[in-house]
Structures are given as structure tokens and as C-alpha cells.
Point group: C2
Chain length 301, copies 2
């Protein structure tokens, strides 16, 4: 199964200012990802703005996604919440709506300890009763998973994958070797942080959890397939074409940049949830140039 393997594309969730989901725009995003041939969709991830939506809004997004691409490709749904019971309800909703897998980040306000995160994950994995991926994203959750905690969680029923942040010192091979030794053979290890993906895939990781692929799945898939087949030269060429975009992601935050891309591609004119602000007009030129660099590289492929 490709649920937590290969290229997982994380689309924005297009909403109005109150968080009401524009299901038609969402369908355009999902169909674009499906046409490009990505391996799975990661709905309501950080890029999908899950933290800013109510339970009802999130349910609406999942139902619309299932209606659009259900059965055509695996659908993973983010079910993070500050309260354990809320995350359990979201997991239940996602399964009821027809999701194929869950993604769970340890959202926090009071800083959590390992035992608290462990029991939170066990409770949600049980309630959801679907394959679940651990979402290790310290920049948004403030919680960093130790290797030991990932190993402990990998033994829990339904917990089958982890989505890691950029590896320290770019040592993907070392981190993968360490984690593989501590987790079951079937447990998959993937990475987010798009600018580390080429290195992570060439080092043999299982999955690229990609922000860019939410709107640019075709070049992201080309990069993924090149790296998966150990073609380091082609992977480097494609990653080079992404560099201007990675620079923007680092400078402005990938979340804000993706709204500009949706606009430039004519797919949706939507904005992030306040307090997050749209990028200033001037940034559009930089994003347009980054997209052009990418297009030229695609034509050269």
C-alpha cells in the first residue's frame, strides 16, 4: 500500500474568512494532485490549516475530499487537536467519512512530556482505528520526539509511520539507520521540510510529505521518482529547479507562499486564517519567477 510511501501531497484547505471550506476549489487542488500521479494526499496537515478550523469545517473538508478522490488514491487526514478527546472525535469523523489513514501532531499549549504524548497517541490510534502516522513537527507543536519515543509508539497498534522534520546536520542516512533498527520492518519513515527531500529520498527514506506537491505535484513527483531510482544527477537537477521556491519557503514560510501559488495558477483566490497574513504584493513576483524556473526544468526533463 502507498498510504505512507512515496510522494504524499499536502494541499491547502481553501476557505473563506470564517473558515467555511470552498469544496469546489478543494476539488480542483485534489484533482490536480491525482492527475500528476502522486502516491497519496495529506489533507488537513499544517499546510491544510487544520489548526484553524472547527470540527464541522474539518468534517466538511474530509467529506468533500472523499467524494472527489475517494477510491482513486489514498487519503490521509490530519486529526491534531489540543485536547485528547477532540483529537479522538476528529479521528472518528475522518474514518466515518472514508479516510484511509490518519496523521497526528502533538499540538500543545502546556509543554507535554513523553508519557503524555504516548498516551495521547495511543488514545487517538485506538479511537481512529485506521493506520496512523506520527507527525513530528517541532516548529509548530514545540514537541520533539526522541528516537526512544518513536520506537515505543511504533509498537502500538495502528501506528505505522512517522513524518520527520529536517534531519540534524543533513544526516538522513544516519537517522534512518538508527530509527530502522528501533522500529518494525513495516514501519515507514518519511520527511517533511521540502528542501531536505532530495537528500532524504536519496538516503533511502520511504516518504516525502510535501507542501509544494499540494499544488506542484508533477515536478515533485519527478524529483521523487528520480531519487527513488537512485538517479542522483536528475534528482539534483530537479531539486535545483526548486531552489528559488525553497528559498521563498525559508524566507516567508511555506504556508504563506502556497496561497500565492494557488492564486498565480488561477486555482483559487484564498487567504490564510488571521492572524496569519497574506504575503505582500511584491512577493508575487518572486513566486512567479520561482514557478518559471520550475517550468523550464520540467520542459527539459
Amino acid at each position: 500500500m502507498t498510504l505512507f510511501r512515496g510522494l504524499s501531497a499536502f494541499p491547502l484547505t481553501p476557505t473563506d474568512a470564517e473558515g467555511h471550506v470552498d469544496t469546489e476549489a478543494l476539488a480542483r487542488f485534489l484533482e490536480r494532485i491525482h492527475r500528476a500521479g502522486a502516491d497519496s494526499i495529506g489533507l488537513l496537515g499544517s499546510t491544510g490549516g487544520y489548526a484553524y478550523l472547527t470540527r464541522e469545517q474539518r468534517k466538511r473538508a474530509v467529506q468533500a475530499a472523499v467524494e472527489c478522490i475517494g477510491g482513486k488514491m489514498p487519503l490521509v487526514v490530519g486529526v491534531g487537536a489540543l485536547r485528547t478527546d477532540d483529537a479522538q472525535s476528529l479521528a472518528h469523523d475522518a474514518k466515518a467519512a472514508g479516510a484511509d489513514g490518519l496523521l497526528l501532531a502533538p499540538m500543545s499549549y502546556v509543554p507535554l512530556n513523553d508519557d503524555e504524548v504516548f498516551r495521547h497517541f495511543v488514545a487517538v490510534a485506538e479511537a481512529g482505528d485506521l493506520p496512523l502516522c506520527i507527525y513530528n513537527n517541532p516548529s509548530t507543536t514545540r514537541f520533539t520526539f526522541s528516537d526512544a519515543l518513536i520506537a515505543r509508539l511504533s509498537a502500538v497498534s495502528n501506528i505505522v509511520a512517522v513524518k520527520m522534520p529536517l534531519a540534524a546536520d543533513d544526516d538522513y542516512a544516519g537517522e534512518l539507520a538508527r530509527l530502522r533498527q528501533m522500529t518494525p520492518d513495516t514501519f515507514t519513515i518519511g520527511y517533511s521540510g521540502d528542501w531536505g527531500a532530495a537528500d532524504a529520498l536519496l538516503a533511502g527514506c520511504d516518504t516525502w510529505y510535501s507542501v509544494a506537491a499540494g499544488l506542484l505535484a508533477a515536478p515533485a513527483l519527478a524529483l521523487t521518482r528520480a531519487a527513488q531510482s537512485d538517479d542522483a544527477v536528475e534528482a539534483a537537477r530537479l531539486n535545483g529547479a526548486f531552489e528559488p521556491l525553497w528559498a521563498l519557503f525559508k524566507r516567508c514560510g511555506s504556508f504563506r507562499v502556497m496561497f500565492v501559488i494557488a492564486d498565480l495558477l488561477g486555482l483559487a483566490h484564498v487567504q490564510p486564517a488571521r492572524p496569519v497574513l497574506p504575503l505582500p504584493e511584491e512577493a508575487s513576483d518572486d513566486v512567479r519567477q520561482a514557478l518559471e524556473t520550475l517550468e523550464i526544468a520540467e520542459r527539459g526533463a
Copy 2:
């Protein structure tokens, strides 16, 4: 006015497992703070678990607090939320229920920049139309206010105070001098992080935003008054009596410890919202000993 001056006591919000507020237990907490003579109450702060409660639950807590101590002492209400419109609604609710002031933390998921936080605060200060205190608490919000941003916000209508975290290198005098130069004379500067309070008060800060005072207002007030009257010897003696409690706060997190104190004092048998776990049974002995140390010091006063 003492709204953002002197000792501000931050009680727990006692709830059941679903977040339903136990208004009788809350009244016991508030009456105890009022009897001790603290200068204000900080309802629904981090210690009040605001991040884990719904809008309706928070409204119920504010209404119960106003009913209990409204008019008897100033009531400040935390109105933080991930979305700007939600924080505005909470501010509106707090004012409608009869709160005297607001406390706003820049809760975040996507890391926020200075402009985003500035506009978030302006929007909420406008909607609430009550004196508002900036809640600078990087350990829970992941956002750190620069001096420049505090200065910029201190010029905004309704924004009249800041609640700072422990000062770097314990340099309260230096930080206060810096901030005082950049903010209006009427703008008050207070501190949270209970174990830094004696130093901060002796250095001349305006306010101690105190977790411990939520249940132990009497000794916290004695410490506050000693430091406010420049009695460094008595302040040190009382702070020494608090040391075992500060050690527990540092080790276990003050939020978790306060639930044990409420239980030991016979005021309420409640638990934090999951995923936060109650402290293990063994911790009760340490907390009991810390309370005894404090009692002996109070008798010696």
C-alpha cells in the same frame, strides 16, 4: 487602579473531564484569593487552562467569576485563541460578562511574525474595548516579543500592560529600565515565572502575575508587600519558604502541581485536561512538604 499592579492571582479553572466548569469549586478558589487581599484575579490564564476550553465553557467561567467577586476586586480574563476572530469573540464575551481587563497571549500554530502579532493585538484590543495586558509567554506560545514590538503595542489604544517571562540572566533592573524608556509612563510591566518574582519586584516591576497565588495568595501577598516596601530581607525569607514549591514547579510544571495543591487543601478534586496527565501519587508527598515549609514561614512572619 490595581488592575495590572501588585499581586495578580491566577487560579485553576476546575472542570470535569469534558471541560464543563465546576462553578462552586471556582467560587471557592476566588473567595480564597479575595480573602487574602490580592490585587486582582487573572481568570483563564495558562494556569486556568484557557487553551483547552470552548468559547461556551470560558463564558461560563467568566460569568461565574463575575457573580462571585465582581465589584469586589478587578477581574482580568485571558482571551487567547489561534484565530483572530475567535479571540475577538472571547474578548467581546468577557466584556459582556463584566470583566475589568483582558490578557492576550499570541497562541500560534504557524509561527507568527511581528506584523501578524501586532495586527492580531490591535484587532482584539479594539473588539474587547477593555484595558488589555500583553501576555509574553514564549514557553506556551512559541512567540517572543522584542522590546520594539512591546513599544509599538504600548502605543495602541487599550493596550496598557505587559506580562513578561523570567528575565534573561535575572537582569530585571536592566530590562525594566529598557522597557520603561520605550513605553508610556502609565504602561505597567509585570512578571510571571513565580521563582523570579522576588527579584523582579525588588527591581521595581509593577506586577507579579502569580500561579502560586491562585491557591496560596496569602504568602504570595506577604512576599509581594515585603518586596514592594523594599524589605529585601523579609522578601528573601518568604521566597526561601517558597523554594521547595518553586523546585517542584520547575521539575513538574506549575500547571500540574497546582492540581495537587487544590486537592491537598481540600478545595477541589480535579484534573488537568488530557493529554496533560495528573502527577503520580508519589508527588503528593513532595507537594505536602512544600506546603508545610510555607506554613511554618507564615507563622513566623
